[in-house]
Assembly symmetry: C2
Amino acid sequence: MAKKAAQVPFIQSLDRGLTILQAVAMSKHPVNLGELAELLDVDRSSAFRLAQTLRRRGFLSTPAGRKDYILGSAIWTLSRQYDWSKMLVRVAHQELKDLAGGLNETAHLAVREGKNALFIDSVHARRVIAVAGQTGELVPLHATAHGKALLADFDDEELKDTFGSSLQKFTKTTITSFPALLKECQSIRQRGYATDEAEYMEGMRCIAAPIRLHDGSIVGSIGISAPATRFLKEHYAAHSKRVVQCAKKIGERLSITEETSDEEE
Amino acid sequence: MAKKAAQVPFIQSLDRGLTILQAVAMSKHPVNLGELAELLDVDRSSAFRLAQTLRRRGFLSTPAGRKDYILGSAIWTLSRQYDWSKMLVRVAHQELKDLAGGLNETAHLAVREGKNALFIDSVHARRVIAVAGQTGELVPLHATAHGKALLADFDDEELKDTFGSSLQKFTKTTITSFPALLKECQSIRQRGYATDEAEYMEGMRCIAAPIRLHDGSIVGSIGISAPATRFLKEHYAAHSKRVVQCAKKIGERLSITEETSDEEE
DNA sequence: TGCGATATTGCACTATACGCAATATACTTC
DNA sequence: GAAGTATATTGCGTATAGTGCAATATCGCA
């Protein structure tokens, strides 16, 4: 019943190496030997040899001349190989299904892609009127719930960097001024979810919440959408709660490091 | 004199773990135990324990139900922490300096950022007339040498995904049709470098080459720009050669896994 | 120039990671 | 559905790989 812990033994030195990697990635500053040794509670020499191995493999690097460590290009190369949206889809798909099923509406998963939100997965409930926004579709960041959820942490400067001079208008409710968008971001952070009051497509309502890693960074968004005729204002309270919950659960799953999981389909 | 090899011993199991990570990242398909064991030339059981350690730490993951391995979310989380453009800057800065010094013009380093190219580093030669495009500036992908270098591998679909409906016109030479842009990409792949014939700013010429990792993927671009009055057509041959060479060298450095380096500043 | 902190190397000991062989599980094939 | 083959997983004794200690080298600062 209790957690039967590590039946398969950890490979100690590999485990330590990975710990170093994560510590270095996390740290805002280059990390020196002492800190690593302390972190692992091993002798400086051991930490040294571990770090050297990582460095020779390109997973760590030493800023010109210095002796302390930062992440190396190997990790970059690694992460580029992989289609990360698949990762998100994998982790989030069950939640998406539950959400769509529970509310009997269409649920979407999106990531940021430049100026747009990209839908990378969706689950449709059994409804007569299907909703727009298929997987693969790009929609503007500033005019959709998903988009705004992805923007939630942006400040004035970042917004301007992203959008350049102006915000395109799609419907009469589209937000077209930077101050208004900034304020909207603020309130999304506050509430934990974003809404779309027909700001992109007439007659469409949508709620979306940012998916955050444990460090707070936003990596995607999850939400539901439906025609305004069906998705009424009085649904907001209940629906948003569920959406936010979903986002939170996904975020936690992404951040999990030690998997206890033995999930069967 | 000869390469004095690894004086600091490799931590074997860490090294093996990293090899697994890279192999899995590289592979298009999930990787199973047998392949890992063969790759490392160790017993299945050893490979198993290494892989399990990676999995428990979230660096590997097993697709629902399956037994074989794909990359896990930990790497994603890792790579998100880090400002990768800094990595590129670090690796490329010396080359940039050499390039600017050698040709006595301004050299830039850029990465793709959505619809734009973002200048992340630049070195100015000692010239009276400074050139536009400071670090931090965003310029359109389809109308600049750097931008087009970054687009070189895009196909028709990817171009349309990126730009949406239309290509903004900046000068009379700006490419504004998708077929033309696609053709331009093709010729950039062929030649290895992109040019900008005052397509964004009047009177400006620019040459840029894509920086590719060993697997061919484009991660940035490097190039030089100058007023057309100074940067003449007859310079193209010589300059482009140098720029392409630079890009190649940077790409190699980024892909390097085993560092022999002992560079002193 | 010397002192304190840090990084690096050599060496001896033992815990660790290894291969082997046994077992369990998944997947064909008849 | 049984037998067979490929794969994953566990247990265990042993050799080696990784450790800490201590010596040395390098750096930074006064």
